[in-house]
């Protein structure tokens, strides 16, 4: 030991740490050590560096921060001795990762060490570079490494080869520089160099097509010969693993042949013999042999069609699958998934075995097998496979149920031969694993049920039976509640019996019991409760005789802690209580939900992109007698003509509409495509809170929320605009609604009376249209700006069906009042005005911006104009 050094030795520190009985003790020891090391670092004594860094590495492994030691690594690397460099490079690789700036400081030391006279120092530098180099370092040091591939010592050649693989991974442009050097390595006899050389060639082939062509042309035969030699070689104790000479080299050679053969029939032909030999001659009783066989099968399946070889490959996989070793079965399942693409029949033969694997105690195997089964399902075997899987669902582990039920649902949806079967299977899944079923799956089920009008009675009765037994399965309860709400009358009267069904006697009050149970159970979540509340409202009309009881249940929800529930309870109570005359039309059965729209919506709801969202709108505007997407509007029985414009843009709120109530939580799955709370807004608008013109307003709010969608599809926007503009007089239905909300005072935005004055601006001007904005601020509310927009027609003709839409970024809130008219006469004969109020949540930080879109008809032709307003006066 160095007599000048202070502090504890590494060994003593490790002992001290190991002696700690509690985590707190360990922390104390580590803290003290770190403090000592920091002090020593500050003294900058080169004698202790070596040991300090070793200690730091140990501390690092325990999970404590050690960033203060990073510079010590660099100092050690820069010192002249081998021991210092050795520990320095080790610390560098352990304490730093390639994203740290400090790493750049080491480039120069690395360069010097790559040219060092001691080959072991060169080896250290190559190893560090190969393990953590960044793209910049790769560029800087590539020439050095390339030169070292030809170094006299094999130890350096192999390190340089692997270092090059890292370099070309980081900077693929450099690949061509390495091609010649890599090809020369293929002739090596030294196994280490050969292995790394083959690896580098493989890597280059993947990255660079020219390199692939080069190796294909020049090296195919050489590689095949090397593989043949190694396969036929006599026993070599140095490389032997379980009777196979260097399985690692085998595997790399097979992998290189794979890329060479793929897409090239001639090269594939050349390698047929040797592949057949490896596939038949390799011992398969040990892991090493199986690893080689596995690689061989993979190569056979990847290269150009040589059908006799493929039979061989599939047979090997069949053998693997019946192996008792779990590892081998696992890889067999994995490979069969790939084999399915070229020989479905051969894989189908193993279906029974695969199905057994789904029930394996090993989670990894189960998961693989389940995925394979999903691929094996087709129209012919779907009923049998589904039955097996559902039977297993009943007894499977809880933590596997989620995966399993998801796959069953996928299979059932994809291959369902008929609706009755689909509904039956889905009900079984919901009963067994309802709490794991994803929202889109049970939403889809509701859409299907809604479409199967002849099965409504059957379904609602089956659900009723199921929910009595499996009331803890949340999604089952939801679907049941929805169906009972919709089809409660069919439930009690045994309407629409189908052949196989046993009649049941359900009284109206039994049906309500189920709903009451769902709404009062403490562990029901808010969505379920909300659905139950809607169901109750519906049942109050379906079962007039017990509407008093239903009312009592609804009234109880007035005390709900959820604001939404409270509010709905008050509203629904009011409907039940005071509006018997409109109640039945209000809660009519929902129109059939449109499956196509839902499916597109569903597909689009995952990758949140504008293009997928735009699709549903395209399919919608025409061709439906009743716009199915806006059931709530229908629910309120507004004239559908009035709202024809709404469905085309309300696609995003489809399911919200379905549920009728938005509780926020239920909307999470729609992610970014969904305007938050849109459902509620819609409802509020329909119920006409504080606005004199509900139909108009609901449209404008929907349009605003979905402007982004509309933007991506101009033709759709035209559709929107060309449809009749709703009259802005209140419809009778909506006036009737006014007193629904007794107690809640309407809050229309009032005209500003006084406030700071802002100059008016010309927000938009084209050859035919000019828009002016004048501003005012309501007193006491600096965030809000009232904007009066004046539209002036600059063309010689009158605009009809004039509609103005605007959109604002998230930090703004926009409210549009109805326009003064939808007909814009020629300039001088009048103008349309429309009031907007904008609330700026970032008032003082960000200024207003607005996008707008103006549509109108000119001489019977649709015209669409768009613009952005960014010249708002400061301080709004």
């Amino acid at each position: 030991m160095n007599p000048f050094s202070s502090g504890t030795r590494l060994r003593d520190m490790i002992r001290a740490i190991r002696a700690c009985k509690t985590a707190a003790e360990e922390r104390a020891v580590v803290r003290k050590e770190c403090a000592d090391i920091r002090a020593l670092i500050n003294e900058d004594d080169p004698h202790d560096r070596h040991r300090n860094l070793a200690k730091l590495m140990f501390i690092h492994m325990l999970g404590y921060p050690t960033h203060f030691g990073q510079m010590e690594c660099l100092k050690l690397i820069a010192s002249p001795g081998f021991p210092e460099k050795r520990i320095g490079y080790l610390g560098l690789m352990l304490l730093l990762d390639e994203r740290q700036e400090v790493l750049m400081l080491v480039t120069n030391s690395l360069k010097q060490d790559l040219n060092h006279s001691n080959q072991y120092v060169v080896g250290l530098a190559l190893c560090a570079l190969g393990n953590i180099c960044s793209a910049e370092m790769a560029r800087d040091l590539a020439p050095e490494v390339e030169r070292l591939i030809q170094f006299r010592d094999p130890n350096i050649r192999k390190k340089a080869a692997l270092c090059s693989t890292r370099i070309v991974r980081k900077v693929p442009d450099l690949a061509e520089n390495f091609v010649n050097a890599a090809a020369s390595l293929l002739k090596e006899k030294h196994h280490g160099v050969l292995i790394t050389g083959v690896q580098l060639c493989y890597e280059l082939c993947l990255i660079n097509d020219e390199a692939l062509e080069y190796f294909r042309k020049k090296c195919t035969e050489g590689v095949i010969k090397t593989l043949r030699d190694i396969t036929n070689s006599a026993y070599q104790p140095e490389y032997d693993v379980a009777g196979i000479t260097d399985p690692f080299l085998h595997i790399r050679l097979l992998r290189l042949l794979r890329v060479i053969g793929q897409g090239d029939a001639d090269a594939s032909d050349l390698m047929t013999d040797i592949l057949a030999q490896v596939a038949t001659k390799t011992e398969s009783n040990k892991n090493a042999g199986n690893a080689v066989l596995y690689e061989c099968v993979e190569t056979i399946m990847a290269i150009e069609d040589t059908s006799s070889l493929r039979v061989l490959a599939i047979n090997i996989l069949g053998r693997f699958l019946s192996n008792r070793d779990n590892n081998i079965r696992y890889v067999a399942l994995n490979m069969l998934m790939k084999a399915i693409t070229f020989d479905d029949q051969a894989v189908q033969r193993h279906r029974v075995t695969v199905l057994e694997c789904v029930k394996d105690p090993d989670a990894s195997i189960r998961k693989r097998a389940l995925e394979l089964v999903t691929l094996l399902v087709n129209e012919n075997n779907v009923t049998q496979l589904t039955k097996e899987l559902i039977d297993y669902l009943e007894i499977s582990d809880e933590d596997f149920k989620e995966d399993l039920s998801a796959k069953i649902c996928f299979i059932v949806e994809k291959f369902s031969p008929e609706k009755l079967w689909y509904i039956d299977q889905m009900l079984k899944v919901l009963c067994e694993a309802g709490k794991f079923v994803k929202d889109d799956v049970w939403h889809a089920l509701i859409v299907v049920i809604s479409n199967a009008s002849e099965l409504h009675g059957y379904t609602v009765r089956a659900l009723y039976r199921a929910v009595l037994t499996y009331s803890e399965q949340e999604t089952l309860v939801r679907v049941a509640v929805w169906c009972i709400g919709e089809y409660g009358d069919l439930l009690v009267n045994n309407v629409g019996m189908i052949g196989s069904e046993d009649p049941i006697t359900v009284t109206e009050s039994d049906a309500v019991d189920v709903i009451e149970d769902a709404i009062t159970r403490h562990n029901s979540d808010s969505t379920t409760k909300a659905m139950a509340l809607v169901a109750l409202l519906k049942l109050s009309s379906r079962f007039p005789s017990i509407s008093e009881r239903i009312k009592d249940i609804i009234v109880k929800q007035k005390g709900s802690l959820l604001l939404e529930m409270q509010q709905r309870a008050i509203e629904y109570n009011s409907i039940v209580d005071r509006h018997k005359n409109i109640r039945s039309s209000l809660v009519e059965r929902m129109p059939v939900l449109d499956e196509a729209t839902f499916n597109v919506r569903r597909a689009g709801s995952f990758p949140a992109s504008a293009s997928t969202v735009a699709k549903p709108s395209v399919s919608l505007p025409n061709g439906f007698e009743k716009p199915a997407v806006a059931p709530l509007l229908d629910l309120l029985d507004l004239d559908s003509d009035d709202i024809l414009a709404a469905p085309s843009s309300s696609g995003a709120d489809y399911l919200q509409d379905l549920l009728g109530v938005d509780l926020g939580s239920s909307s999470s799955q729609f992610g970014a495509t969904q305007a938050p709370k849109a459902g509620t807004d819609l409802l509020l608008d329909i119920l006409s809170i504080g606005t004199p013109s509900p139909a108009q307003n609901s449209i404008s709010s929907i349009d605003l929320l979905s402007t982004a969608d509309v933007n991506s599809n101009p033709s759709n926007a035209l559709d929107t605009l060309s449809s009749p503009v709703p009259p802005h007089t209140a419809t009778t239905a909506s006036t009737g609604m006014f007193d629904l909300l007794d107690g809640l005072s309407p809050s229309p935005s009032k005209e500003a009376t006084n406030g700071p004055a802002y100059p008016s601006i010309v927000a938009y001007e084209s050859s035919s249209l000019k828009i002016e904005f004048t501003f005012s601020k309501p007193p006491g509310n600096p965030q809000t700006t009232n904007v009066q927009a004046t539209f002036i027609n600059l063309s010689p003709n009158t605009f009809t069906d004039f509609i103005f839409q605007a959109a604002v970024p998230k930090f703004l809130q926009l409210h549009l009042d109805p326009a003064s008219s939808n007909t814009l006469p020629v300039s001088g004969n009048g103008a349309i005005t429309q009031n907007l109020s904008v609330t700026n949540s970032q008032h003082g930080k960000k200024s207003l911006v607005m996008r707008m879109r103006i549509g109108y008809k000119l001489n019977g032709k649709d015209v669409l104009e768009e613009g952005q307003v960014s010249n708002f006066p400061c301080g709004l």
Partner: protein, 170 residues
Amino acid sequence: MTCLIMLASGIHFVLLVSRQGKVRLTKWYSPYAQKERSKVIRELSGVILNRGPKLCNFVEWRGYKVVYKRYASLYFCMCIDQEDNELEVLEIIHHYVEILDRYFGSVCELDLIFNFHKAYYILDELLIAGELQESSKKTVARIISAQDQLVEVAKEEASSISNIIAQATK
């Protein structure tokens, strides 16, 4: 996970954990920030240590595969891509263990605790950039001992110099 998915990337990281969940060695070939590293270790040791004895040696994790094997009280884990040959990785693990065994003379966990840096040096002679560099155990042993020798020589020199200094300053 922020690491770049390339066509081939070899072994992403090597991890040695004890049965008690103590980390004995970590080696990262793909870029993981320090915070991610500890998260990965926590997550994986939770999964792997809880697996039963007769199950297969592969765990699917975050879209990758982790091949692990238990030797006495230590779990050796290597993370690879979905397409990689997991049976071969098992062989690589075994290869490493055999070299350790030869170097330490029937290796045990304590050897790897007190001589953790040696375990790293050996690993560095076995893998670079997540790829195997040597299939001969003998060659690895030879290169390691040559380097150990270099360190010994340097140490002797240093101590003889410091002795001279010590005597001179007496």
